[in-house]
């Protein structure tokens, strides 16, 4: 029996390879200076969905909420085998915390309508919160199984999975629909398919088309009127749509979102203060092996917040 999977994926700054260049003088992170990557555990979630489709048939839809640039991870989903991808982008969604994000994603999933299994990576490496998956499950009224380590099969409409909590494992069986969050150890994500790369490398969202074509047309004729660009974009979008290469782009209106629950307005948690940490060991300090020296060392560790 075929099953429909929806995978939530996120484009994140590559925090594992952060360098001093990426730190601004005020100690905050300059996102623009960091390479943007496919959140690693979301690739495992995608792979689990593809495994389910391989075994049982069905569809895999990937959805990403983020700036227009996040279309990059959706193209990656197409290269690896996703049937349909949707970019959810809207300035009014900026500054959403995990609660607002989960609300928006749950509205998008409702809008897609048909689904048996919703999958998320366990957590994203920029926030490491692991909250959005369970928060979506609650909003959709679905059971959840987090920390998934292995997908074991679906029989009679019930899915079997193993979850790993670090000091042991549990085998669960759940009715569908269900939400799963997937660990990085769950599988080895398949590589891109060369054939699919050839086919989908031209896939674009309307925002991407607009930016690319405006740049092109203005290079040829700086006085080109906006209306002319607009109609050219629409024409091109229609061509792509017919070729199955137009990446769907949704905004908050499309998913019927209550704006009071999105963005800063819908986010109960607020970042009040941000402090940078000194990143590299440029400085080496030596302390004498005396009570005074040791006290100074401890004080130093407290001041730079290494010790709480």
């Amino acid at each position: 029996m075929p099953y429909d999977c929806i995978v939530c994926v996120k484009q994140v700054p590559d925090t594992a390879n952060i360098t001093t260049d990426a730190m601004k003088e005020d100690g905050t992170v300059n996102r623009a200076a960091l390479p943007a990557i496919f959140n690693p555990e979301d690739l495992n979630a995608l792979e689990t969905a593809l495994e389910i489709r391989d075994q049982c048939g069905g569809t895999v839809t990937a959805i990403s909420m983020g700036p227009p640039k996040a279309a990059e991870v959706l193209r990656e989903c197409l290269y690896r085998g996703a049937d349909r991808v949707i970019l959810l982008t809207d300035r009014r969604a900026a500054a959403s915390d995990t609660l607002a994000t989960s609300y928006i994603l749950s509205q998008a999933i409702r809008t897609i309508g048909r689904y048996d299994i919703v999958l998320c990576g366990r957590q994203a490496i920029d926030g490491d919160t692991a909250q959005v998956g369970p928060q979506i499950a609650e909003k959709l009224g679905l059971p959840q199984i987090t920390y998934l380590e292995a997908f074991l099969g679906i029989e009679n409409g019930r899915i079997r999975v193993r979850r790993n909590m670090g000091h042991g494992w549990e085998l669960f069986e759940s009715p569908l629909p269900v939400l799963l969050t997937v660990l990085g150890t769950a599988n080895q994500p398949r590589p891109r398919s060369a054939k699919r790369v050839m086919r989908f490398k031209r896939a674009r969202t309307v925002s991407e088309l607009a930016a690319e074509m405006a740049a092109q047309m203005k290079a040829q004729n700086p006085q080109v009127p906006d209306s002319q660009i607009e109609s050219a974009v629409q024409e091109r979008a229609e061509q792509l749509r017919q070729q199955g290469l137009l990446i769907e782009q949704w905004d908050l209106d499309r998913i019927g979102a209550d704006l009071s629950r999105c963005g800063a307005a819908g986010s109960p948690t607020k970042v009040w203060r941000v402090q940078g940490i000194v990143l590299t060991r440029k400085v080496y300090k030596q302390y004498p092996a005396t009570e005074e020296g040791v006290r100074e060392l401890i004080h130093e560790l407290v001041v730079d917040r290494t010790l709480g």
């Binding site: 700054p13 925090t15 730190m23 100690g27 905050t28 992170v29 995990t98 609660l99 989960s102 920029d126 490491d128 919160t129 692991a130 909250q131 959005v132 369970p134 928060q135 979506i136 499950a137 059971p143 959840q144 199984i145 920390y147 079997r160 909590m165 670090g166 000091h167 042991g168 494992w169 085998l171 669960f172 759940s174 009715p175 269900v178 109960p268 948690t269 607020k270 970042v271 009040w272 203060r273 941000v274 402090q275 940078g276 940490i277 990143l279 060991r281 400085v283 080496y284 300090k285 030596q286 092996a289 020296g293 040791v294 060392l297 401890i298 130093e300 560790l301 917040r305 290494t306 709480g308």
Partner: protein, 342 residues
């Protein structure tokens, strides 16, 4: 969300597994006590499970004034849906102002589910919690005695302080081992409040088929602080000092291969190419020369402190802070300095 309630209690979710309380919940009772004293309110612990009433005394000894107890044979093992229902019902009934959970796999499964249901704020993996008055930048409104939730972000490259003005309760998960585990005070008195929460069958649709728990192992990977000893520690007895310092800081104990091969400590503590690779916020290397194989497993640590009698030891070349001296003298001084701070 629940109404802002500045008389509300400070709550801890008491995580238990097979009738044993998780250390992080006991650590949190102590922290909750400190926060509650600053706010002038009481500490409550939520305890759910099957035949777990016996654990209430320990929660009280660790700082709880009240233990909200929900017992049901169907709660024998943790499951998201029924446990989340219990926690939501208790919060909706008593309106605590703060709710803390351990940032364990269980806590990180449960807490966001509860927050989503209540539409309340939730901050993950805090490493520090404080109470302070906060002026909201946008409105210039003063919010007295708010919970400051401090957590690392961006892969640990920045420290963010999060607040929650009105999406209450103010909720956070806290990493294991970050708050000191205070000695229990058996003379403390508290009240056990037995609660009944209706749990319908639809909450039990997910079936647990099999479960395999391993005894808690040395958690080097998750440790924020690691105190490690090498061949220079000299003996199994001397390793007690390493353990003592780790205990005071709230860190894990690591070792170099030299120390493991000499039989000073078990292999599960080994850090390096053939052991575990770690990147804690703080790594204190005692009597470790710093062979390349060991460095490969720890040089990504955010801060490295090296203590060694040999000023030429390679460990100093990657350390941020060094003390040339005998760890047997230096560690007691560190413990003393840390205790004075507390």
């Amino acid at each position: 969300m629940i109404p802002v309630n500045r008389q509300g209690e400070v709550w801890v979710y008491a995580e238990q597994e097979d009738g044993a309380l998780h250390d992080v919940s006991l650590e949190l009772c102590g922290k909750a006590r400190q926060l509650a004293d600053q706010l002038g309110v009481r500490v409550g612990a939520m305890l759910a499970g099957h035949q777990v009433a016996g654990l209430a005394d320990r929660l009280i000894a660790q700082g709880a004034d009240k233990v909200y107890l929900v017992e049901d044979s169907r709660l024998a093992h943790y499951q998201t849906l029924p446990y989340a229902r219990v926690v939501c019902r208790l919060i909706e009934k008593y309106h605590p102002q703060i709710v803390l959970y351990g940032a364990t796999p269980l806590g990180r499964d449960l807490a966001p589910r509860v927050a989503s249901h209540l539409r309340a704020g939730m901050t993950a993996d805090c490493t520090d919690l404080q109470i302070d008055d906060v002026v909201e930048a946008r409105t210039q409104q003063l919010h007295p005695k708010l919970l400051l939730q401090v957590r690392p972000a961006f892969g640990g490259n920045i420290i963010a302080t999060i607040v929650n003005y009105d999406g209450w309760p103010q909720m956070a998960t806290v990493r294991e081992g970050v708050m000191p585990l205070l000695p229990p005070d058996p003379s403390r008195r508290g009240q056990v409040v037995r609660e009944h929460v209706e749990l319908d069958d639809t909450l039990f649709v997910v079936r647990l088929l099999e479960r395999h728990m391993e005894p808690r192992k040395v958690n080097l990977k998750g440790a924020r602080v690691i105190v490690a000893g090498g061949g220079g520690v000299g003996s199994k007895e001397n390793f007690r000092l390493i353990y003592e310092l780790a205990g005071v800081i709230g860190g894990a104990v690591g070792a170099s291969r030299a120390a493991v091969d000499s039989g000073f400590i078990g292999k599960e503590h080994q850090i390096g190419q053939t052991g575990t690779t770690v990147r804690p916020a703080l790594y204190i290397a005692c009597g470790i020369s710093g062979a390349i194989q060991h460095r490969a497993g720890m040089e990504e640590s955010a801060k490295i402190v090296a203590i060694n009698t040999d000023p030429e030891a390679p460990i100093f070349s990657i350390a941020h802070y060094g003390i040339v001296g005998d760890f047997k003298q230096v560690i007691p001084m560190m413990i003393k300095a840390l205790r004075q701070r507390q």
